[in-house]
Amino acid sequence: MPSVFSSALPGLTGLSAPRWRLRLRHPLTLGLFSVALLWLIWQIAAGSGWIQPLFLPAPQAVLAKLALAAGQGFMDATLWQHLAASLSRIGLALLAAVAVGVPLGLAMGVSPVLRGLLDPLIEGYRPVPPLAYLPLIVIWCGIGELSKVLLIFLAMLAPIVLSATHGVTRVSPSRLRAAQSLGASRRQLLWRVVLPTALPDILTGLRIGLGAGWSTLVAAELVAATRGLGFMVQSAAQFLVTDMVLAGIVVIGGIAFVLELGLRALQQRLCPWHGQQD
């Protein structure tokens, strides 16, 4: 009979399982399995002729289109040029969101007054879809690169600010008081106690923010773009080139997933204590 723990926390049952079962339950194995299953279903659905290629092209057609885009290009730019354009927008927006969001979040965590003043504004704009305020950004900032980066920046900012604020509120009073009693100044408390304590949450905010940034990319590249993965997908959709639409989605998903894995690894390296008994 399964215990309460085995049903609530399946990972615990692995403690006494044989090695082959542990390997099967490894997150990498499970992840590869789910991707392979999706691929198989896609292959069967497309290959059986149940769904027309216009609506769902076969995986190999998408891969062929991807190879074509990488070599000969699509819409006057190669896949790599589209990728570079999107990555530079995401990168710039992320840098700006970290530079603004982390200090702002820390300040809001430390100061209840600042939190009271800014929290309604951030929580107010956070759920608004970027497409809703995109016209306003175009009116204010034009159709240049600034509008695209600003839109992605705004999508990233809220989760980064809120995570940093939450990280600060997790600092235990005992830790702060112990440091104070060792002679830590206010500045030392902030840099040596508060910031490292908030770091796991800040990195989680970066992960969430990056995800929000990627999901805003297509909207951002609606604004008179000539390059970018979002632009590539939209252009392909206008001409009903479904295999290119899917190729773009696969690339965006793949790149976003690799960056997410990188951030997870960074979080694990910088904050190995996070989630452990501390």
Partner: protein
């Protein structure tokens, strides 16, 4: 009167919105060689008293002084050891201890050397480079004590430091604390709700009662000095005098609880 003492002078603390004070008219003097223990049930104000001595909570009435100088906030002359969450998990054991020295501006090489010496003193020389989050509860408390000793403190204030430990580890930590107390020569103020711990460690024991928090009895058990003179722990804790004092304290606490219950009824 001891001019070098850490003293609370008729201290009262009333938290906003609370009907009665958390502490009422508490006076206490902790001399340079003292190991003073505040014993009492939950809500008797012992944590508030420690917070006042540490400078975390200002008294509503009365004052606190160290060697005659008024205490207006936390400071490096009074290091606090907590039960939980006070170490820095992103630093290893040695750097946690060295953190206290770094705050004083001690150079890297010297602070590492001094931290390692202090870790040896608390029996953790072998764990200097371990992450603190991999340590057991007892080992963490040793790190906390070593870190407090690394500060230029004249007093160690300990907030139920062994409350989360099992009975065996707790007894080990009690004897370690007495060794540290003897070697460092620092005064210690410790709060606990464990009667045996209080009796064993204290040179002066203050018994506190809630409603409002106050000191209801002061005794000088003297078992810590007997242990330092070589008597075994178990022999001391089964000594008829130890047992008689334990029963007396239990009886006193029960009487005060009954009186409080009658008042609130």
């Amino acid at each position: 009167m001891d001019d070098d003492a850490l003293r609370a002078w008729s201290v009262s603390v009333r938290y906003p919105g609370q009907p009665e004070p958390a502490l009422a008219d508490v006076s206490l003097s902790i001399g340079p060689q003292a190991l003073t223990v505040a014993l009492g049930p939950s809500g008797c104000g012992k944590t508030t008293l420690l917070n006042v001595l540490a400078g975390f909570v200002p008294p509503s009435q009365g004052r606190v002084t160290l060697a005659g100088a008024p205490i207006t906030g936390p400071g490096a002359d009074r290091a606090v050891v907590f039960q939980h969450d006070a170490l820095l998990p992103w630093l290893d054991v040695r750097d946690n201890v060295a953190f206290a020295l770094e705050l004083q501006g001690v150079g890297r090489r010297e602070r590492h050397a001094r931290a390692e010496a202090l870790l040896a003193e608390v029996g953790l020389a072998h764990a200097a480079r371990q992450p603190v989050w991999t340590l057991s509860g007892g080992m963490r408390q040793r790190v906390g004590i070593a870190r407090a000793l690394a500060s230029p403190s004249r007093a160690l204030l300990m907030d139920e430091p062994f409350g989360a430990l099992d009975a065996f580890t707790r007894e080990q930590m009690q004897t370690l604390l007495l060794e540290v107390w003897r070697h460092s020569g620092r005064r210690i103020f410790l709060i606990t709700h464990d009667i045996e711990e209080a009796l064993f460690l204290a040179t002066e024991l203050v018994l506190m009662s809630p409603g409002p928090g106050r000191i209801v009895e002061r005794i000088e058990p003297g078992f810590s000095r007997r242990w330092l003179a070589g008597e075994p722990v178990r022999a001391l804790k089964s000594d008829p005098a130890f047992i008689a004092l334990r029963e007396h304290l239990l009886d006193t606490l029960a009487r005060h609880r009954q009186a409080n219950d009658k008042e609130t009824a």
